[in-house]
């Protein structure tokens, strides 16, 4: 029995380079439920991070009572992390689920029936369409719905209404991943695979605190670094995370650049490869474009110059570059430290450049994982609920638009393609002025997660825009809506989703949703029916009635595109493991890694985008793209470093960065309702370095005020491992408080929201907002009666050198008992190079 709050990764199963990752089955059942009394196990995959672990849901007496990892799944080989174990099912049985629709009457939300609620939406929708046309409608969705639901929403938005104003909270978390792929390779699509971990000589983690964001993937890396012939770890992060410590342990490097200076560092690493001749000249000549421009762009970034900009040692830049340059196979992973920071797309593209220069793509161990934050973010991008066109089609290519028009049997002019899709921040700006008069928000909580929260609240509660929210609970966002629709969640509906490395899983319905809650798919179909959306033949635009029919419709329109699902069906997905796309006649069993032949989807007629100026976001035209004759070659694109939009000043001398803890997910809608998880990180805090704390007379646990030009929070201080000059705040905590039994009941709930301080500013290409570059000041308010409520297990641990003088918090622990069983015989995993697949 192990406490997976204290022991986040479980027991090690170390193994040697090139051998298969052993299987270990992790299981958690609610207290009082023993394995023998479980009525059934229902196939699914975990929805509490982007890793996409295969899982079976335990059902007893019509309730979800626990989970078990699937030993045969290629993603997790049976393992689950703390969020998956403790957080997957508890929310479903929570007493405060939404069970009936709500409508606003006299300023208050009151319960009603579906007829009334949907009637109100449809009336408003039709009247605004009549008055102002399709650009009056906006849809803001999630990274946590199912593929079928995004596709239904995409068809409604693009072919039913015809609005370009569709996006998801994926804009906040994964937009840069997609944008970077498009710029380098011509289309979205993860080149690498998790199986690269077994074969690499080095792992570079760029702004990616994997031990807290994808714990099972980190366990997979630990099983290499603690085994024979381990890879070296290189960590780029301003905090001393567990990744940084593993870098120190394996003879790698921890580079801690000043917040907002990632691109300068990347330019320095690129220059080192070039000047040291760590370049595969023949491969670069055959498969890339743009080498000479890149060379001149990075030329000024000597290690010393980079050291000055980033505050890192010049020799550390040299050492990191040497590890990259001299390894046979490097795996790179990237996440929010790059995506949510300054010059996000350019810095992420620079990771691709390093791999392209060394020809390190498309073979085991040589991979790139531009990570996602959410479990189904990938599907939002694929299906086009984020504004892109379904199937990685190019909105600027009339032939691609016509393919969709033919598939949907609508006029191509209906499909909004005359301008780039409207990104989330712009959608909210239009809603702010009333230019968008109906905003439909599904499965996300922008009142907590978007930057500059005070502004977002104003937009949602104003009369200028009618707001529909569908969710599991009355979130901080739902409280401000005009209509609230109760949605079924994971395990209460059927659908598919796709993880970071393209692996598609089917998640079956295990139990009925509570009360009158409906699946998001059924809600969207109900709206489409009531609106009477039809195609040119007069048939219903969304002809399908079930999730499986929606899946098949989706698969059909992916034919011939990079994201090819045509070989997949619900029957295929009911097998032992998820299957990575493309799955088609050429690859009937799926595809472990892309670009094995070094042919990239950059052909002008095939690509998803013609590309952008990485500094301004200006679009490359079709003619300009065609003139470059990319023809399957990848782009080497560079950009000079520019300083962040807000630099520290006399009034705001510190750099503010937001982030996450391992025990909470997003705005805690699910994890906050698991006592095991919530008690481990029950309330907000802020991390400050010992030096900055001393200068302000701040001791561990003191209440402090953190202020930026936009707002302030008052929380307790953790004197921690963040670099000097930087301040870290977790973004999970809005004003909602869990039940006291789950560790709720804090009285700082109205002044702890990290996004009060962040800026409204975004990357010019990916349009991802910058959550990691603002200036702030921290001042001491008063002492408290204990340490900060921050976990001690991960990057939020108290500073080591601070220990002698100050009180030490108690170690984070106290998760319920879970079991972990290492299998004597490891299953054979299809496509896994360590199992003999090639």
């Amino acid at each position: 029995m192990s406490d997976r709050i204290a022991d986040i990764y479980g027991a090690r199963t170390p193994h040697t380079k090139g051998t298969v990752w052993p299987a270990r089955v992790d299981q958690f059942l609610d207290p009082g439920v023993d394995e023998g009394s479980v009525d059934s196990w229902v196939q699914s995959a975990c929805l509490l991070c982007s890793n996409g672990c295969g899982v079976d849901i335990a059902v007893k007496d019509g309730r979800m009572v626990g989970v078990r990892g699937r030993a045969t799944d290629v993603v997790n080989h049976g393992r689950l992390g703390p969020k998956g174990l403790y957080g997957s099912t508890r929310w479903a049985n929570s007493g405060d689920r939404l069970t009936r629709p709500l409508v606003r009457e006299g300023g208050r939300l009151v319960e009603t029936d579906w007829e009334t609620a949907m009637g109100r939406i449809v009336d408003r929708s039709k009247s605004i369409l009549d008055a102002k046309g399709p650009l009056s409608h906006g849809f803001y969705t999630s990274g946590q719905l199912f593929l079928e639901e995004y596709y239904a929403l995409a068809v409604i938005g693009k072919a039913g209404i015809g609005t370009p104003h569709m996006d998801g909270n994926t804009r906040l978390c994964t937009a840069t991943s997609a944008a970077a792929f498009k710029e380098s390779f011509g289309a979205d699509g993860q080149p690498g695979s998790y199986t690269d971990i077994e074969h690499c000589d080095a792992v570079f983690l760029y702004g990616h605190n994997m031990p807290e964001t994808q714990t099972v993937l980190w366990a997979r890396i630990l099983d290499r670094t603690r085994g024979d012939d381990p890879p070296r770890i290189v960590c780029v992060d301003p905090r001393r995370t567990l990744v940084a410590m593993e870098a120190e342990r394996t003879g790698g490097v921890h580079l801690a650049p000043r917040v907002g200076t990632n691109l300068a560092l990347m330019n320095g690493l690129t220059r080192e490869l070039l000047v040291n001749g760590w370049v595969d000249q023949d491969w670069v000549a055959a498969h890339t474009l743009g080498l000479e421009d890149l060379r001149s762009t990075v030329e000024p970034y000597t290690p010393e110059h980079v050291g000055d900009i980033c505050g890192v040692a010049a020799d550390d830049v040299r050492r990191a570059a040497r590890i990259f340059g001299e390894s046979e196979a490097v795996l790179s992973t990237v996440l929010q430290g790059f995506y949510q920071s300054h010059q996000a797309t350019a810095a992420s593209v620079a990771v691709h450049n390093l791999h392209l220069l060394r020809g390190m793509l498309g073979r085991p161990g040589a991979g790139i994982l531009q990570m996602n934050g959410q479990p189904t973010a990938q599907n939002n991008r694929e299906c086009g609920a984020d504004g892109d066109l379904p199937g990685f089609r190019n909105w600027d290519n009339p032939h691609h638009v016509q393919q969709l028009a033919d598939a949907w049997d609508v006029d191509a002019m209906t499909i909004p393609h005359w301008a780039p899709p409207t990104h989330a921040m712009q959608i909210f700006s239009y809603a702010e002025t009333g230019s968008i008069g109906l905003l439909w928000i599904s499965a996300t909580n922008p009142a907590v997660s978007m930057p500059e929260s005070a502004r977002i609240r104003r937009i949602l509660e104003g009369d200028q825009c009618f707001v529909v929210v569908q969710d599991l609970f009355l979130t901080e966002t739902a409280e401000l809506a005009d209509v609230v629709l109760p949605a079924a969640g994971w395990g209460e509906k059927t659908g598919c989703f796709t993880n970071v490395n393209r692996t598609v899983h089917l998640s079956e319905k295990a139990v009925d949703p509570p009360g009158e809650a409906k699946s998001d798919l059924d809600i969207f179909l109900m709206y489409a029916d009531r609106m009477g959306f039809t195609n040119r033949s007069g048939e219903p635009l969304l002809g399908w009635r079930t999730a499986e029919e929606a899946f098949d419709a989706w698969a059909a329109i992916t034919a011939g595109r990079p994201v090819d699902y045509t070989g997949l069906s619900y029957d295929r997905l009911r097998g032992p493991t998820g299957i990575p796309w493309p799955v088609n006649d050429e690859h009937p069993d799926g595809t472990d890694r892309l670009y094995a032949e070094a042919v990239f989807p950059t052909d002008t007629d095939y690509c998803e985008t013609y590309g952008h100026d990485l500094i301004t976001g200006g679009t490359v035209t079709e003619q300009e793209h065609r003139a470059m004759r990319p023809a399957g070659r990848a782009f080497l694109k560079g950009a000079p470093y520019t300083p962040p939009h807000e630099e520290p000043s006399a009034d705001f001398p510190l750099r503010y960065t937001t982030g996450r803890t391992v025990y909470q997910f997003h705005t805690r809608t699910k994890t906050g309702r698991s006592g095991d998880l919530n008690r481990a990180a029950p309330d907000a805090w802020v991390e400050i370095s010992p030096t900055d704390a001393d200068a302000r007379g701040i001791a561990e646990g003191d209440w402090v005020r953190v202020e930026s030009p936009r707002g302030a929070i008052e929380v307790r201080a953790r004197v921690g491992e963040v670099m000097e000059g930087a301040v870290f705040a977790p973004f999970h905590y809005g004003h909602w408080e869990p039940a006291a039994a789950d560790g709720g009941g804090h009285d700082d709930a109205n002044h702890r929201l990290a996004n009060e301080l962040t800026m409204t500013v975004w990357d010019p290409v990916s349009k991802q907002p910058a959550f990691k570059t603002a200036a702030c000041q921290v001042t001491r308010l008063r002492a408290s009666d204990g340490p900060a409520p921050a976990p001690t297990t991960g990057a939020s641990a108290p500073a080591e050198r601070d220990g002698a003088r100050r009180r030490r918090p108690r170690p984070t622990q106290g998760g319920g008992p879970t079991t972990s069983t290492t299998l004597a015989e490891t299953p054979t995993y299809p496509l896994d190079p360590a199992c003999g697949a090639s």
Partner: protein, 153 residues
Amino acid sequence: MPHLTTYIGLADHSEQTLADSFRTVAEGHARAADVFHTCRLLASWSDEHRTALAPIIERYGEADVDEPERLHAAGLAESRDGDVGLLRDLQDLHVLATLVQTTWTVIAQGAQGLRDHELLNVATRSNAQTARQLTWLNTRMKAAAPQVLIVAP
């Protein structure tokens, strides 16, 4: 070379006008965060072009032209209001940037004739940067136009 110096003067003045106008639009539409930041960045590019041109002005002199009204485009002294105003301001910037770009094209021709490598280099680089300014303006106008033309309040 009276007319070359006239055009060098025109480049200097019109880049100054463009930079000032970018800054005016940035401040006037600061609520549009990307407009605010990008316009300030693009203004700094025009500043850099003038800095690069400065040693050449030292060499050739800068003609204080007799007919400024024929060669100087007026900048944006103030920005317009609202979404429609933004679209119009971006259009004005595009007109100014086009004048700048054609000026560099003309100067590059002169530099070729004179075999003046330094001037040719400055004109070519500045021209390429101006093209990027124009591309962004086009992209931003295209994104803003549908909403402005059809539903802006």
